[in-house]
Amino acid sequence: MEESREKLRVRKIEAGTVIDHIPPGRALTVLEILRITPGTDDTVSVLMNVPSHNREEKDIVKIEDRELKEEEVNQIGLVAPTATINVIENYEVVEKKEVEIPEIIEGVVECSNPGCITNTSEPADLKFEVVSKKPIKLRCSYCERITEESELYKQFSGR
């Protein structure tokens, strides 16, 4: 029943990527991460707060004719750790990837500590150690302060 209702909402895509099981409300942040902004040439469908099999709500993003880079997948993992990435060809799922949060995050996240040297004009290579994956907690390699998941969410939404 739910399956058919979903089909009615948005049809299957022929080729591209479906990002499923995004925590409700975070689809727009995922679009920010993928730099899908007004003026994009990508064909994109966004579903928000749709019922999932376990009756919890979720967001879904479908992007036609685009495969995600590993770096993009990792970034999505930081704000949507439950997401799955489905690669679609000929209307079929040919590859299903879980997002994987690496042990070290480089160059993606900004340190949430305003007193950190990386938040100045210094040419510092941003690097974080992942101290917890659920909830996500990242330790800055410079100031050693922890950046929490909620701060990451704000960071990506503010781009």
């Binding site: 500590n113 007193g115 950190c116 040297i117 990386t118 100045t120 004009s121 210094e122 040419p123 510092a124 800055c140 390699s141 410079y142 100031c143 050693e144 302060r145």
Partner: protein
């Protein structure tokens, strides 16, 4: 004899073996630090002292340390007289200054600045305070001074009193003391307690901790009392400040309850948290601690630059 690291960024990056090497090296220099003997061990060596924030003790003791060993210093104490005022990055300043010297002591307001500097530099970087981050030579000299005056660093009852919430010095010392199986007595007003995450880190390391607001209750048990200043600006209500400040003033009367072997330390500067009448007692070791600051830095410079 070499340390496991060329840069001294934080105390926790030093192994116990490194600490022992620094302390043994430092002990050799007591007479030279007192001016009773001369040394040209670091003759011709230049230490760059880059102080982007004010400092008295740290800067002077580093300068004294290298000069006692026959070396010299270059540097600045105020960023407004440096190229920073023209907009130069710290990275560029370090890459420039390292051409003029053999090691750099850095104090900078931003956390992580010393680590960044160590990545830019080929010469050793010594962190002399990076904002609310680390000040490893302070922790080294605190431990050295405790060891020197108590003849051990292990199994002591160490009381930390004052502002335990914001004090960088006491945070580092608490972590350092926990490495050597000491029991910690954390004495502070309710509003200036040691941060919870530090307490939980210390407990994970099986450190025995007792928190209290009442110094008199625990004083008889202590071997070490490390006193820090309670800063007025930490209180939104001045009457609240006045209420707590006097309860932690160390004077002769309060020390009547102390054990004979108790020794008192303080990172200085002190304001009124230790009554000057205590200075002449056997308990007072805070000015000897200042002297330890010179010999420890001599030991460190000798290992890094010798």
């Amino acid at each position: 004899m070499k340390l496991s690291t060329q840069d001294i960024i934080s105390f926790k990056k030093l192994s116990n073996e490194d600490i022992e090497k620094i302390f043994s090296e430092a002990e050799k220099f007591e007479n030279i630090a007192k001016g009773k003997e001369n040394s040209d061990m670091l003759k011709g060596k230049i230490l760059g002292t880059l102080f982007f924030e004010p400092s008295t003790r740290t800067k002077l003791s580093f300068k004294s340390a290298i000069k006692r060993l026959g070396g010299s210093t270059i540097g600045f104490s105020r960023p407004e007289v440096s190229s920073i005022a023209k907009g130069e990055t710290l990275t560029d300043t370090i890459k420039t200054v390292e051409n003029y010297c053999d090691a750099i002591v850095l104090r900078h307001p931003q956390m992580g600045s010393a680590k960044l500097a160590s990545e830019a530099a080929t010469v050793p970087i010594i962190n002399a305070g990076d904002g609310a981050g680390h000040h490893p030579t302070q922790t080294l000299l605190d431990l050295f001074s405790i060891r020197k005056n108590l003849n051990t660093l292990e199994n002591l009852n160490i009381g930390l009193v004052g502002d335990l919430k914001y004090g960088r010095t006491v945070h580092s010392l608490a972590y350092a003391a926990s490495r050597f199986q000491n029991k910690l007595f954390l004495i502070s007003p309710e509003s200036l307690r040691m941060p919870k995450e530090i307490i939980s880190d210390l407990k994970e390391k099986n450190t025995d901790i007792r928190e209290t607001s009442n110094i008199e209750e625990v004083l008889p048990e202590l071997d070490v009392l490390y006193v820090t200043r309670i800063q007025k600006e930490r209180f939104s209500d001045p009457s609240e400040y006045n209420k707590v400040k006097d309860s932690y003033v160390i004077n002769k009367k309060i020390l009547e309850e102390a054990d004979d072997k108790l020794r008192i330390f303080h990172p200085l500067p002190r304001v009124d948290e230790i009554d000057p009448e205590v200075d002449q007692t056997k308990y007072a070791k805070y000015f000897d601690q200042v002297f330890s600051g010179v010999v420890v830095r001599m030991g460190l410079l000798s290992l890094l630059m010798g």
